[in-house]
């Protein structure tokens, strides 16, 4: 293989994982913008997506086309439940309390998954075939193509949702000024629940897309989710274009450093760069 083919291969791999990080990062941003907290339960939405897909395929025998949207919908529901039972009852305005609260919810979700699906690693079949495609000498799994296509679609839908639908506009209003939004009659509580639903959906989607490539276990989402959080921070927390940019950059950085330096330390390089960016530009790349 030539140097160019290697590079192409690493870039493809980077964009694929970058797309996943971007989806997770968007989930973090949605909740942060409307409620103003970091929702650490986002990492478990990712694992849950994979788990529901697994159950849909193998427990209820659904075909992939049905199981996938069902899994995403199920995680969306979990998101609403988390908001209703976990976050909303807290009257605290204290940042620390709210962050630790979502950490607690995350522990509960992980415990629940361990209980229902066990601790063993499981395998989820890919959406499309397993025969790699060859583009300019680089091999790409069909699953990677599926990830890119579905992620692009999802981001497109999200843009439309925030610009063209009533609920999306309400969410932006609440994000920009909660009191003012309430004054003009926007149901702030329902919008907050919707933002958790959206975060659940995005996390779940990332989960169903990524688990065929990784393997599935109750804690698969932790490192993925934290990298998604890192991507959101890198791009500027709360900024949607920032989240996508941060995700892609983080994915590329990781795969290039794994390719040209050391695959054992790829997590280190990703986080070190993140720390350096934060130290130079604490608001993130596109943060305000």
């Amino acid at each position: 293989m030539s140097g160019f083919q290697d590079l192409l291969q690493f870039v493809f791999a980077g964009i694929t994982s970058g797309a996943i990080y971007a989806l997770i990062a968007l989930g973090f941003c949605v909740v942060h913008n409307t409620i103003g907290i970091v929702n650490f339960a986002q990492v478990d939405f990712v694992s849950l997506g994979g788990m529901f897909l697994f159950s849909g395929l193998f427990w209820s025998g659904l075909p992939m086309v049905v199981a996938l949207p069902c899994a995403v919908a199920a995680v969306t529901l979990v998101g609403i439940v988390v908001e209703r039972l976990g976050v909303r009852p807290s009257r605290s305005q204290n940042h620390l309390v709210l962050i630790f609260l979502t950490i607690g919810i995350s522990i509960i979700l992980r415990g629940g998954m361990k209980l229902i699906w066990g601790k063993n690693r499981m395998a989820v079949p890919p959406l499309a075939g397993e025969e790699p495609l060859r583009i300019a000498g680089a091999a790409i799994l069909p699953q990677a193509v599926a990830i890119l296509v579905i992620t692009t679609l999802a981001i497109g839908l999200l843009v439309f949702f925030f610009r063209g639908t009533r609920l999306g506009l309400c969410m932006r209003a609440v994000a920009s000024n909660q009191t003012a939004a309430a004054v003009v009659g926007i149901p702030v509580g329902r919008v907050k629940a919707a933002s958790f639903a959206l975060a659940g959906g995005l996390g779940g989607l990332a989960g169903v897309l990524v688990t065929p490539i990784t393997t599935l276990s109750y804690d698969v989402g932790v490192l993925l989710g934290l990298k998604g959080f890192a991507a959101a921070i890198l791009g500027g927390f709360g900024s949607f274009p920032g989240a996508v940019l941060g995700g892609l950059l983080l994915g590329l950085l990781e795969s290039l450093s794994a390719g040209y330096w050391s695959s054992a330390y790829k997590d280190v390089s990703a986080f070190v760069v993140l720390l350096l960016v934060l130290f130079v530009r604490p608001k993130g790349l596109l943060g305000k």
Binding site: L96, G104, D267, L278
Partner: protein, 329 residues
């Protein structure tokens, strides 16, 4: 004119902190005499080691109002530093422990100076990232750290001819350190520096306006908590003679934070309680092994929802309010 009885009560009230420390000290000195089961002593020793970390972390979270999801990294630096310093480099244990604490302080300074400019989620991410970096190095750099299988053969600590090689000796060793840390924290929060930190946690701008050098104060308390965590890590390594990366991953950092929250953010005595509760909990609910995580999480969520000031502080506050209400009823 005060009666003798009043005087006695006043004396007790005036010296309540000192007397509680004294009582705790007496109980701790006598504890190995009453409890001879090495397993239970091992548990109480673990509480002491964790308490040293959590005391420092509580100063940082509870008093300075900052967030750290990466203190297991400093715990790791202490443990692995002592292991490598004594075994690989063949250094004497006590000076190595001090040198490692110094290294931890320098790392905390290097990380803290830029990181503490950040706040809230950014700080959470920076400390979390730091923990992941340290953990990955522990796992991957196996020529030095022993990799995933861990680092064995760390020598016991000695003072003169006394070798700290059994649970009773460990007890006196680790609890001495824990008590020193406790006294340090109790005194610190009553000092000008401690008051400054408390002001900082309430409102950074107001504290700065009142002349607290907020940036310097935050970095200082971060370094102090890192040093405490590092010393605790060294003790951990010398007592168990074995360390492995799993004792230092991000979930351990989260556990430290849970201990702070359960005990009460900003409550020094609560820290001891929270540490003990969370350390002992897995033992008590052993029968419910598969529910362990859920119970862990539920405790944290319930406390944050209903008693966000922590279990001890929350209950004390509730009782005080009730008494005050009854008095005026």
């Amino acid at each position: 004119m005060l009666t003798t009885r009043d005087n006695l009560f006043y004396f007790i009230y005036l010296h309540r902190t000192g007397l509680t420390v004294l009582a705790l000290g007496v109980v701790l000195v006598a504890w190995p005499v009453m409890e001879s089961n090495p397993y239970n002593l091992g548990l109480s020793n673990l509480i002491a080691i964790y308490a040293i970390v959590v005391l420092g972390l509580n100063l940082f979270i509870g008093y300075a109002g900052q967030i750290s999801l990466g203190h297991a990294a400093f715990f790791a630096i202490g443990a692995y530093g002592s292991a490598i310093g004594t075994v690989t480099l063949g250094g004497p244990a006590w000076p190595v422990m001090m040198a490692v604490a110094l290294v931890a302080a320098l790392i905390a300074l290097a990380v803290g100076l830029p990181a503490l400019k950040l706040s809230g989620h950014y700080l959470a991410m920076a400390t979390l990232g730091f923990n992941i970096v340290v953990y990955t190095i522990l796992v991957q750099w196996d020529a030095v750290t022993g990799g995933p299988s861990g680092f064995a053969g760390i020598p016991y600590l000695t003072i003169g001819s006394v070798v700290f090689d059994n649970e009773i000796h460990f007890h006196y060793l680790v609890w001495t350190f824990a008590m020193v840390a406790l006294l340090l924290c109790l005194n610190l929060v009553r000092s000008g520096v401690g008051r400054g930190l408390a002001a900082l946690a309430e409102d950074e701008t107001a504290a700065a306006a009142l002349g607290v050098d907020t940036r310097r104060a935050k970095v200082k308390v971060f370094i102090l908590s890192a040093v405490l965590a590092s010393v605790a890590g060294s003790l951990f390594a010398h007592c168990y003679a074995f360390v492995s990366p799993d004792s230092f991953n991000i979930f351990v950092s989260v556990d430290f934070v849970i201990m702070v929250v359960v005990g009460g953010m900003g409550s020094i005595w609560g820290t001891l309680f929270g540490t003990a509760l969370i350390t002992l909990l897995p033992e008590w609910i052993e029968a419910l092994e598969s529910f362990k995580d859920i119970i862990h999480g539920l405790i944290l969520v319930m406390i944050l929802l209903f008693l966000p000031q922590g279990l001890v502080t929350g209950i004390v506050d509730a009782v005080r309010t009730r008494i005050a209400l009854n008095r005026h009823a």
